[in-house]
Symmetry: C2
Subunit: 369 residues, 2 copies
Amino acid sequence: MKSIRVSITSSPYNVIIGQGTLAQAGKQIISVLGRRPAKCCVITAQPIWKHWGKVLEASLKNAGLNAFVLKIPDGERHKNLHEVEKLLVGMAKHGADRTSIVIALGGGVVCDMAGFAASIYMRGIPVVQLPSTLLAQVDAAIGGKTGVDLKPGKNLAGSFHQPHLVIEDTETLRTLPQREYRAGLFEVIKCGIIRDPRLFQVLEDERKAILARKQDPVQHIIEASVKVKADVVSADEREGDLRRVLNFGHTIGHAIEAATGYKQLLHGEAVAWGMIAAIQISCRMKTLNNELATLMTDQIKSYGPLPAIRVRREHIISFLASDKKNVAGVPHFILLAGVCSTVVRNDVPMSLIREVIDSLLTHSKISNK
Amino acid sequence: MKSIRVSITSSPYNVIIGQGTLAQAGKQIISVLGRRPAKCCVITAQPIWKHWGKVLEASLKNAGLNAFVLKIPDGERHKNLHEVEKLLVGMAKHGADRTSIVIALGGGVVCDMAGFAASIYMRGIPVVQLPSTLLAQVDAAIGGKTGVDLKPGKNLAGSFHQPHLVIEDTETLRTLPQREYRAGLFEVIKCGIIRDPRLFQVLEDERKAILARKQDPVQHIIEASVKVKADVVSADEREGDLRRVLNFGHTIGHAIEAATGYKQLLHGEAVAWGMIAAIQISCRMKTLNNELATLMTDQIKSYGPLPAIRVRREHIISFLASDKKNVAGVPHFILLAGVCSTVVRNDVPMSLIREVIDSLLTHSKISNK
């Protein structure tokens, strides 16, 4: 078991990572809050609840905690305000008050929606994140970003709401479908590329063991990724723009997700395509040399297969316009300037963006023939 | 023109009060932000826009600001998440980004919803409040509380999001229906009762001039009320519980509003009934003497008439259970302990609450025969 501190000045918290940590959730929650919350609102989704609900329920019960469960439908397409409203109404009907807490057990969608619901219920109650997918463990559950999608774009409604505690049980990854597991690995690869050359190397060296979900390398890459995210998020308050580095691959990634109606690709897969695009753009903008670009692109592909993107180029372009990272309508790209070095650029010509998306679409069709 | 500082440590701001201040909104916004926002999203409602839209539009245009207008339907029953979603989608469609701002022109519903939309759009953009009703000027626009109602209760979804600036134009009160103006006066009376004996006295002495909306006493009571709210809100970060004093009259007031479906009474009118109830409870709990109780109750009634409450007692009681001020299901009451002295009590017997609500219902029927 490892504990990593997220040192946000206003509200620091720990991320606990290890085998079987879910069974200790109840005890840990009381220890962090310093009290028994009046009610624990567990927000989860059926597929994960089926596997791990009993473990969590027992843990809360053993700690003497009073809990009720609200389930949200699985999948990014349900990450909307309507479902959040159902959660809030459910919380009110179960008598949750300002001394209650939200406990999120699930993947990125559950973490984002439960965190958002907690942040606006009675103007904010605490949330404890229990991410159960690799993607959520290395990304969604840490950093306090919460939110839902709107028709015009992803995560357009949301809040910053830091969790009081994050508990990551590597055991829960056992029940994860292989495609979802791979999708999470792309965010791990992102962490290696943007900030941790050792992680990048481990991903090269231990590919087989990682894909086979061996405990030791899996624990290692999760810890390393969480550290990258924790460092960036902790420093963000001081450095302002630093946090944007985490959006590497997300500018085009988000546009692809939105353009395909959040149906064809998992978030991590869209980010993988987005990273391949950002690496290409970095080469063409002469911030990155071809050798490094090939090395990185090859690593991404080696953790594939990546599903095809079946949509018109201009549809993707149209969603770039409503990206949150835009300033005054101009897309901002996080480009690479070498190993673990990034640069934010707002001067990528539209013609180059079009060319790179064309190349992605062609490439994605060929590799999925 | 008067400027009152709300000294919240994290984000202090000014409340500008005076005749014709709306015409200076554009200039003031640029001065406070220190820049021209990419886009100004004006959120308003048709009745106020009809009267004051041109003044605001001219002011923004003269300052070189790029604005678009989104209207929300008038009335508390539209203060819901669905309408907020429409605002957020509208903002995205108009290309609002993180450097854009929201400008709220309207009453309490507009202030609450626009503030909430600003707080969650792209995880938060600035809001400037231009409250146009008396109620909004002395209450809703100041303090950063935003939110919408859920079926189970009022303001159950929301956030704290301090405005960057509040501009109050006493001119806009001219176009306010008399019933709405009176409803706002009840929140002014609340400020006098809880914190400002001089304001209480002015409300006694200048009743006629105030009801006739004479500029001088109106400017005076708004300034005094804003000072009360600004003081409490500024001190809240240090004193924790102090802010609850502002909820005087709101425990039963909110329950009455919810039980009557937000249709029979304006917010200020419900608060007036709630204050009368809280004063009665204070007497019965022996925290307040009968003489003061009569003096205060008489002042509230003298600014009436108050419309009847047409609903069953138990329906009101059922909504007390989901009040945000509850802790572990127990209603918390802000009671009076003398002139400008309050006490929070969670030991008011249900039998007494029932008795007092019965008395309110009887009283409200008699006075509306």
